[in-house]
């Protein structure tokens, strides 16, 4: 059997001053082109999992393998060619231009001390064009709206050209319209072969993407499957502790509605 693109084996993690493990043996596999939504209540370990994948922290036990190779043994620059990262909506202290922000996605290729090459400039420009940001290229990142800023960070992830893009609540702080646009872009890009692992607080987002869903509870995977299997009233009640009706519209598309509003 060929190696999966990403394999997580029995990952356990505990924060230094905490008595309890936040991740209690997470195992999962991901292959190319999948979009995986991680859903779960606050504190269930979604963000911790993303941070461990990016090696912001080290797990107490367990392994993360990418194409069969343990990420512990992969140097920083090579790891950045495996994972790109789109954080929550953020502010930067220094307001770089859109082009400069996207170009930073090319650092794994040309390093910190050599100038960006022609190929780097071209890759950044292509990514900007793909995210339809060409008119904003020279604008300062902090002058952009939240939605535009997230698009710039996705463009940076495209320029980084890593097979797996990790997103930690990328919709946080975005208005509804921008959330729809963001997930539409993710859908389009995953069609092109990029793998996405996205943490989100909204089951609807998983329904929009209609990809794979992983429900997490208390540091464990509670359910893993396609969105029809995982986004159900029982499972959502189990992780969020409230009744959420999962209805089907006339066209067959499903949507969530908390029962108190039904």
């Amino acid at each position: 059997m060929p190696d999966s693109l990403l394999e997580i084996q029995k990952l356990c993690f505990k924060y230094p001053h905490s008595s309890e493990n936040i991740l209690k043996g997470i195992s999962l596999k991901a292959s190319s082109g999948e979009t995986i939504c991680l859903l779960g209540a606050n504190g269930c370990g979604k963000t911790t999992l993303i941070r461990l994948l990016l090696r912001f922290m080290s797990p107490q036990s367990g392994n993360i393998l990418i194409k069969g190779r343990n990420t512990k043994d992969i140097p920083e620059r090579k790891l950045a060619k495996c994972f790109s990262y789109v954080p929550q909506l953020q502010t930067t202290t220094f307001s770089y231009s859109v082009r400069d922000m996207v170009l930073m996605g090319r650092i794994p290729f040309s390093g910190c001390f050599r100038p960006y090459t022609k190929a780097d400039h071209k890759a950044a420009d292509d990514a900007i064009e793909r995210m339809q940001l060409t008119s904003l290229t020279s604008k300062s990142f902090m002058e952009l709206s939240g939605g535009q800023r997230q698009m710039v960070l996705i463009a940076r992830a495209i320029a980084q050209d890593a097979p797996i893009c990790l997103m930690d609540e990328p919709e946080n702080g975005l208005d509804y319209g921008n959330q729809v646009k963001l997930f539409h872009h993710i859908s389009t890009l995953s069609g092109g072969g990029m793998t996405f692992i996205i943490t989100t607080h909204h089951p609807e987002h998983a329904l929009w993407l209609s990809g794979r869903v992983i429900l997490m509870k208390d540091g464990l995977v509670m359910s893993d499957g396609n969105c029809d299997e995982c986004i159900t009233q029982e499972k959502l009640k189990d992780i969020y502790g409230i009744n959420i009706l999962v209805n089907a519209g006339k066209d067959g598309s499903r949507y969530c509605r908390p029962s108190i509003y039904a």
Binding site: P16, L54, R55, F56, E76, R77, K78, L79, A80, K81, F83, S84, Y85, P87, Q90, T92, T93, F94, S95, Y96, S97, D100, M104, G105, I107, P108, C112, F113, P115, Y116, T117, K118, A119, D120, H121, K122, A123, D125, D126, S140, Q160, L166
Partner: protein
């Protein structure tokens, strides 16, 4: 379609190089013109043509006046001009680098306690009656000890590394400031105390050609490392997110701290404490060219040279008695800083 897309990369690269050149060349030209003009500035009574003939013929004439002029120009003014440019460039480039790596536009080259440490080193040197070169060495040693102290404090505790570094700098700076007060209290009030106080005000009046020769390699090493690290500083200034872009922030930050500290310590050891330049010049640079360190660092270095040269010329010519350079930079620097803070809305 493909050839057009292929050439786009090189066109974008050329645009960047051209932009960098178009900003840096005029600034470098202004600095050169100012440096040359500064040779003519001073209190010694001499006409422009006399000075010009000495400068162009490098003092071949035997007349006493010409020899005097020649020694004033080449042994006093020239080293001082070089020193002002080097110290200005070093403080400004290290200030810009510290601001980026600490993700904080309000930090200055003294953030890790280098100024107080240098002050203690110099005061010990003065008390022990060391030669000027000995005082420079003890200043260097004092500054280095303070920075190592700050790094030690940051490394022994777990937590937010950046915050711990700034705290380490504050603790180390405060400790050395109190040691400096103790030394001043114990110093002989007739000669040692005034010498320490004068040193702390910062001045380039004692800098000779030999001093420049000694410190030049250190300035060059520090500046070369920082000027080649624009991309590294850009990515460090993103904070934790930088880890996802293929760098090891801790290792890279230590390297940048080493280069920036080398520059600030060397500056302190030859010029004493010159405040505000390292904080304000990077802000002026950002207003001119934006925050991209690939352009900001060379621009800050040249601007720093221009500004400190201007301040030093003012210090030595504005009044009949020379004012210490550190006082001039503070008097002009503080209102400028207030002004820039308002204009740049805190950026």
């Amino acid at each position: 379609m493909e050839p057009d897309r292929g050439s786009r990369g090189s066109r974008l690269l050329m645009t960047f190089v051209l932009k960098k050149g178009l900003i840096i060349c005029p600034l470098a030209l202004i600095l050169t013109v100012m440096a040359t003009a500064s040779l003519f500035a001073g209190h010694y009574p001499a006409t422009f043509s006399e000075l010009l003939s000495v400068i162009t013929s490098t003092g071949k004439s035997d007349s006493e006046n010409t020899q005097m002029l020649s020694s004033i120009i080449f042994e006093l003014r020239l080293p001082r001009i070089f020193a002002a440019i080097l110290v200005g460039a070093a403080l400004s480039a290290s200030g810009a680098a510290y601001q980026s790596m600490f993700v904080n536009p309000l930090v200055s080259p003294g953030v890790l306690g280098v100024l107080s440490g240098g002050g203690v080193g110099a005061a010990i040197g003065i008390i022990c009656g060391l030669s000027p070169f000995g005082i420079q060495l003890s200043t260097f040693g004092g500054g280095m000890t303070a920075v190592l102290g700050a790094l030690f404090i940051a490394l022994i505790y777990r937590g937010d590394r950046l915050l711990l570094l700034v705290l380490g700098g504050v603790i180390s700076g405060a400790f050395f400031t109190s040691i400096l007060s103790l030394i001043k209290y114990a110093a002989d009030p007739n000669d040692q105390l005034p010498a320490i106080t004068y040193w702390l005000m910062g001045s380039l009046s004692g800098v000779g050609l030999n001093d420049i020769k000694t410190v030049l390699p250190l300035f060059i090493i520090g500046l070369l490392v920082l000027l080649s690290a624009g991309k590294a500083l850009n990515v460090l200034s993103l904070g934790e997110e930088s880890k996802a872009l293929g760098i090891n922030p801790q290792r890279l930050r230590l390297m940048m701290i080493a280069a920036a500290t080398l520059l600030s310590i060397t500056s302190v050891s030859i010029a004493g404490i010159i405040g505000w330049v390292g904080l304000i010049v990077p802000h002026i640079g950002r207003m001119l060219v934006g925050p991209d360190n690939r352009i900001l660092l060379p621009v800050s270095a040249i601007l720093g040279g221009i500004i400190l040269l201007l301040a030093d010329n003012l210090s030595r010519t504005a009044f009949t008695v020379e004012i210490p350079l550190g006082i001039t930079t503070s008097i002009f620097g503080i209102p400028m800083f207030v002004c820039f803070l308002r204009k740049s809305k805190g950026m």
